[in-house]
Symmetry: C3
Subunit: 160 residues, 3 copies
């Protein structure tokens, strides 16, 4: 590892979650949780399809994308069958459970309890005709891109 | 929100756009525009398929990806039908119009007028056999990764 | 370009590679290589499907995603044919060869020789039941998210 003598430790991260698949949502959640566990300040900002992870009716039903991802090593024709994405999702959920990585709703609750602020993107909220009450209770506020930059003072911005 | 006392505000962002779908291009454009509106310096650097957003013949015809995105809540077999991506694209365009988010070409013109520098990635330009004249007039320069780092001095680098 | 007088040059980058397709892996590799060529410190951290790029049995067989990417300008039904992804991959490999961009294995060796540290994400390693010996020899360590933040002191974190 690089010697970090004299280098400033990461003090704060502002993580943007923009994709709605399971493999699109978890990296950002894991990074936010890891940050709080290290005493690093953390903001989570959900935008575009990433908002699925904080919408009450959808957050318990995220799926793994089985097409368009060659790393699944699955012929596209097979990946497109309705049951396959559900199966891959179920398998990933089981593996994550073994690692004590909780389901999305519980993970967001945990991350929020650990002091991470949770925001939805105003433009996306308007585009998808959503309201504050469509979101889980952990969402602290619906903010503009400008407000996102303000709340990111001193942070490393990470778009996932 | 976190108290930002003593934390340094975001002064500059260098945003990389690497994907060519509508939902791959807009987050970076919205973040660049939002930055300039807040008085934050901004660079946009287009690479790989993201270059579609600044290629004259392609920038008016970007599409929403309807397969490989479980958040579309659409059976893959349906999403694969030729007309469906066009339909989803049309719907997103209408919603964005209501929010005063302009089409790609107009948005790039607006962002550039607001003082954001626009660059294409030299390696990608060479890989796809493109020339300066294939790009819209707002492209300030074709630069290498090394030059990208130089022009990113003091910036938060955001890969979208 | 912006005048960089008084702005601090980029000194260090911590690049996360999270996707397993060729177009998901190369941008991060190119940015890490470009950083080292500029004398910028660089860490590469492979997580989720991005780990394919450092797994011995898989790193020589990455593919271009031909579905779910409207920028391929290919009807999804066509992109889903088994041979098409292989064809697109072959074409991209040939173009990259012309630009002296090496295949993944060779590129990682080169980047590592240039002084970039290479890490695999512990949670992902556990989730996919992998072991140290499944990875190419350039992998310096398997580290947690917390350790990733520590080794990123002073760095711009870039998630690709």
């Amino acid at each position: 590892m690089f010697e970090n003598n004299g280098l400033e430790p990461i003090k704060k991260v502002s993580i943007i979650i923009s994709k709605g698949s399971m493999e699109g949502v978890y990296p950002g959640l894991i990074m936010a949780n890891g940050a709080r566990m290290e005493g690093i300040e953390a903001n989570l900002f959900f935008t575009f399809f990433g908002m699925e992870a904080i919408i009450n009716k959808k957050m318990d039903h995220l799926k793994v994308a089985t097409v368009g991802n060659p790393a699944m090593h699955m012929p596209t024709v097979l990946g497109a069958l309705p049951g396959i994405s559900a199966l891959a999702t179920h398998m990933m959920e089981k593996e994550m459970e073994k690692l004590d990585i909780p389901p999305v709703r519980e993970f967001i609750e945990m991350i929020h309890d650990a002091g991470c602020y949770i925001y939805a993107c105003k433009a996306s909220v308007d585009m998808f005709h959503l309201k504050k009450e469509d979101f889980c209770k952990e969402v602290d506020d619906i903010i503009t891109v400008g407000e996102f930059y303000e709340t990111s003072a001193g942070a490393n911005i990470i778009f996932t």
